[in-house]
Amino acid sequence: MSDRHRNAWAWRGEGLRSAVEVLARYPGRSALTVLGLAIGVAAFISMVSFGEGARRSVLAQFQSLGTNLLVVGPWMAERQARDQPAQPLGALDVATLGRESTTLAEIAPVIRMDQDLERAGVHHWLRVQATTPAFVRLHDWPLAAGGMFDEDEVARRAKVCVLGATPARALFGFGDPLGGGVTMGGVVLCRVVGVLETKGYSAGGDDLDDLLLMPVTTFESYWGTPEGYSRIELEPLRPGLMEAAKSEVTEILARLHRINEGEENDFRVTSPLEVIRAVERTSAVLTGLLRGIAAVSLLVGGIGIMNIQLVSVAERTREIGVRAAIGASPTQILTQFLWEALALTLVGAAAGVLLGLAIAAVTADVMQWPRVISGRGIAGAVVFALAVGLVFGFLPARRAAALDPIEALRHE
C-alpha cells in the first residue's frame, strides 16, 4: 500500500520533470506561449497594486487633513447659472456661525493663495494660508519655535506670519527665523513669530511643510477677497456631533444667505470622512474593473496555452501512439499533457509575478504612491493562472489521451 503511494508520488514528480524537459526542448516556442500568460499575471498583479496604491494615496491625503473636520466651501456656479443670487463666504459667515452654532468647537476661515516669499534676495514660492489662530488648534499642528499669532494680531491686521519647516530652512538656513522679516508678494514685510513642527511628506508626495500661515485680515488688506474665503474649516465639539454640526451649519448659512426652500445652496458642507468613503467606493469599482481586464488577459494567455498544446499533440501524434502501444494508459497520457500545460503555466506565472512586481514598483515610484505589494493579489493571480492552465490544458490533453494507438502509430 505504502509502496503504491510512494510510486504514485514518484510518478507525479516525474510528470512535472518530464514536462519541464519537453518544454526546455522548445525554449523559444515555450517562451512565446507563456508570454501571454505572463502578461496576464503581471497585469493582474500590477493593476491590483495600482488600485490599492492609488486608493491609499488618496485616503492618506484626506486623512492628513484630519477626520474630525467639516469644511464649508463656496458652491456658487450652480446658482449663478440660474441667475440666482450667490454670495461668497465671508467674515459675516464666520461671525454668525460663532454666535449661533451650538455644536462647533473651532471655526477657522482660510484663504489659500500661492505667493512669492523673499528674504535677502532669496525667493521661495509657496502656498499661503491666511487664517486665524483656530486653524492650528483645529489641525493639532504643534509649533517647533515661537507661537501662533493671536486673535489680537488678527484684529490689528498685524504683519506677522508662521512659517512651515520648508520655507524656514529655505530662507533662513540654519539661522533662527524668529523675529526675522520675510517679504510676501513683494509688498508685505512680515515678521516671523513662529515655526511649525515638521510634518514630512504626504503619502501622495506633497511637502506638508511648504506653507506659510498669516492673519486672514492682513491678507485681506493687501490682496482683498473678491471671491471670499477659500473655505471655512470647522471642528465639531465631539466626533459624534459630526452629522448634527453639518445640518446646523447648513441651516445657519442657508438662512444667512437667504436661500429659499428647495433651492440649491451657494455653499457646500463636506467632511473628509465622506470623501474618503466616496473614494473607497470609486476605487473599489476601479479595482474591480482592472481585475476584470487582468482576468481577460489571463484567459487570452490560457487560450495561447491551449493552442500550443493542440499543436504539440498534433506534432507528437506518433510519439503518443508509441507511448500508448508500450502501455501508457489514457490517464497517464492525459496527465502528461496536463503537466506540460501546468509547467508552461508555472513558468508564465513566475515570470508574470516578477514582471508585475517590477511594473508595480516603477509605477508607484513614478506616481509617488506607496509601494503596495498585495500578497492576496499575487496569490489570486497565480491561482487563477494555474486554473486557467489546467482548464485550457485539459482539452489538448484529452485529445491526446483519446487518440487511437493504431491510428497514431500510422501517423507520420
Binding site: 503504491r4 510512494r6 510510486n7 504514485a8 514518484a10 510518478w11 516525474e14 519537453v22 526542448r25 506518433r318 510519439e319 501512439g321 508509441v322 507511448r323 500508448a324 502501444a325 508500450i326 502501455g327 501508457a328 494508459s329 489514457p330 490517464t331 497517464q332 494507438p405 493504431i406 502509430l409
Partner: protein, 245 residues
C-alpha cells in the same frame, strides 16, 4: 470446413501452458455502407516459449491480427485468452495495463522516442509502471548491456545506427518481462547484416528468457528460424506448417 479452423494440433506444446488461445477471432471495418471483414475467424494457439512466424501477403490481415493479439485493438467477434485471461473486450485503460505488463512490441520502424536517450527509451515502460527512477535506470542499463549497447546509454536514437535502434527497441520491449513479444518485421528496415544480428539477438534473448515470440515477416530466412510458421490469407490461417520445438 474452413482451412485452419480446427487443424491446430496441441500435442507438441501440450505440456506447456498456452500464452495465446484465440478462437474464431473476427474483425470487420465499415467502409461506407459495406463491411470489410479483415479477420474471418482466426484460431491460433501459441504455447509459452514458442517462436511463431506470422506470414502472408499484404492485405491478408497480418497487421490487424497483430493489433488484436497485442491488445491494441478489440476483435469484433471470437474470444482471445492471453495467458489464460479473456482480453477480448477490455476497456482502453485495461488494454493499456495488459500491453504494459504482458506484451512487448518491436516495430519495423523502431518507434523510439526521438527526444529521449537510449536509456530513457528502455526505461519508459517502467516509468509507466510506476517504478522509481533509480530502479528503472538500473534495469534499463542492464538490458542495454545485454543487447550490447552499454556504452550507448546516453545517445539519442538519431545518433545510433538502424541496428542499434532496433536493439534499443528490443531492450525496451523486454523491460517489463512480458509474457508475449510481438515483432512486426523487426528486420524489415535493416540491411541484411544488421538485420541478421538483430534476429540472432532476438532469438538468443528468447531462448535465455523463455520468451513467447511472434514475428511478422516476409523473409523466408527469418521464418525458417522459428518453431512454426502461420500463414494468413484473406483473414484466415491456411495450411499451418507445424514444426516441433
Amino acid at each position: 470446413m474452413a482451412p485452419g479452423s480446427t487443424l491446430e494440433p496441441a500435442s507438441p506444446r501440450g505440456a506447456r501452458p498456452l500464452v495465446i488461445d484465440a478462437r474464431g477471432l473476427r474483425k470487420s471495418y465499415w467502409l461506407g455502407k459495406s463491411a470489410v471483414e479483415v479477420l474471418a475467424g482466426v484460431n491460433l494457439t501459441v504455447g509459452a516459449g514458442e517462436v511463431v512466424a506470422l506470414r502472408g501477403p499484404s492485405g491478408s490481415g497480418k497487421s490487424t491480427l497483430l493489433n488484436v493479439l497485442g491488445c491494441l485493438d478489440r476483435p469484433s467477434g471470437g474470444r482471445y485468452l492471453l495467458d489464460g485471461c479473456d482480453v477480448s473486450a477490455l476497456s482502453r485503460a485495461a488494454q493499456a495495463w495488459v500491453r504494459l505488463h504482458m506484451i512487448g512490441f518491436v516495430f519495423q520502424s523502431f518507434n523510439l522516442i526521438a527526444r529521449a536517450t537510449a536509456l530513457e527509451n528502455v526505461a519508459l515502460p517502467l516509468f509507466y509502471a510506476g517504478v522509481a527512477r533509480p530502479a528503472r535506470e538500473a534495469v534499463a542499463r542492464d538490458l542495454l548491456a545485454r543487447v550490447g549497447l552499454a556504452d550507448r546509454a546516453r545517445h539519442l536514437p538519431a545518433q545510433l545506427s538502424g541496428g542499434q535502434c532496433q536493439r534499443v527497441a528490443i531492450a525496451r520491449a523486454l523491460s517489463v518481462h512480458p509474457k508475449l513479444v510481438l515483432a512486426d518485421e523487426p528486420t524489415g528496415a535493416l540491411d541484411s547484416r544488421s538485420g541478421g544480428e538483430v534476429l540472432e539477438l532476438l532469438l538468443d534473448l528468447q531462448r535465455r528468457e523463455g520468451l513467447t515470440l511472434i514475428i511478422v515477416t516476409h523473409d523466408a530466412a527469418v521464418a525458417a528460424r522459428t518453431d512454426r510458421q502461420v500463414h494468413l490469407l484473406d483473414g484466415r490461417i491456411v495450411d499451418p506448417e507445424v514444426r516441433a520445438a
